[in-house]
């Protein structure tokens, strides 16, 4: 049976550090390799940053919900915001070159896509955007 861990927090940057710590604790509890744990934490922080800044427009009264699902062979993390979403199908087909020096922002999805085994987006009715990150696990 998978285990679920749900965390909800206001859209404030200071809570991202807490999310990083939570990811580290869960990864340690699951016995994941440090490299895998780091890739998960980096991707989750990027997803939460997008939810905070783009989805919730940094509005602290809007919460971010994160649902972590632990399976023996996989971990998946859902991140929900209250935003209107974006054209993710178009974006995923034309992910910008990360080394483009003209762009200050816009590398988060590239990082998530490279570090996780799967990334998907869904606009949830009466809610907002949901990003799901999945990582197949290799035990240390």
């Amino acid at each position: 049976m998978p285990e679920y861990i749900t965390i909800e927090f206001p859209s404030r940057h200071k809570y991202l550090n807490m999310i990083d710590i939570v990811c580290g604790e869960i990864a340690e509890d699951m016995g994941l390799k440090l490299e895998i744990a780091n890739e998960i934490a980096i991707s989750v922080i990027e997803a939460c940053t997008n939810a905070l800044e783009h989805g919730n427009k940094s509005s602290p009264e809007k919460n971010i919900r994160m649902v972590i699902k632990r399976d023996p062979d996989k971990i998946s993390i859902e991140v929900y915001d209250w935003g209107k979403g974006f054209d993710y199908k178009e974006y995923l087909q034309h992910i910008p070159d990360p080394s483009d020096i003209q762009k200050v922002r816009g590398r988060g999805i590239f990082i998530m896509k490279e570090m996780m085994d799967d990334i998907s987006f869904e606009l949830v009715k009466d809610r907002g955007m949901k990003v799901t990150l999945e990582k197949n696990l290799i035990k240390s």
Binding site: H13, K14, L16, N17, D20, N38, I42, I45, E46, T49, L52, E53, D97, P98, S99, I101, Q102, K103, V104, R105, G106, R107, G108, F110, I111, E114, M115
Partner: protein, 122 residues
């Protein structure tokens, strides 16, 4: 703004910025603002010592690369030194190694600035 600290040292024409903590979307504005102040004061040879930096988010990386063009137009550059393996992994993932040469230490980065200077002598 307590997650990122910047210490500065000036060696000849170069400025060394020793960062410690996290460079993320919350702290990157502070870093960007300091870099812009230095560039406006014609300090364009910048060494960023990342030895004490645990993590750089995509927003943080964006600050470094966005300054490259302006700095090089003024005969300056940005040199990143002392990246830990986790930071280096993302640096390479983002293909920034095609834009910036990483250095083991701030001293190595300063030597590289000196070498460039010597090569530019008539």
């Amino acid at each position: 703004m307590d997650k990122l600290h910047i210490e500065e040292e000036y060696v000849a024409e170069a400025a060394i910025l020793r960062l410690s903590g996290l460079v993320d979307s919350a702290t990157s504005y502070y870093l960007e603002s300091r870099l812009n102040e230095l560039i406006a004061a014609d300090k364009v040879k910048l060494v960023i010592d990342l030895t004490e930096v645990d993590y750089i988010s995509s927003a943080g990386w964006g600050i470094f690369v966005s300054e490259i063009k302006g700095l090089r137009a003024k005969n300056g550059d940005i040199k990143l030194a002392g990246m830990n393996p986790d930071v280096r992994d993302v640096f390479e993932l983002l293909e920034f190694d095609t834009l910036l040469t990483p250095y083991e230490s701030a001293t190595d980065a300063l030597i590289a600035f000196d070498s460039q200077e010597s090569n530019n002598l008539p």
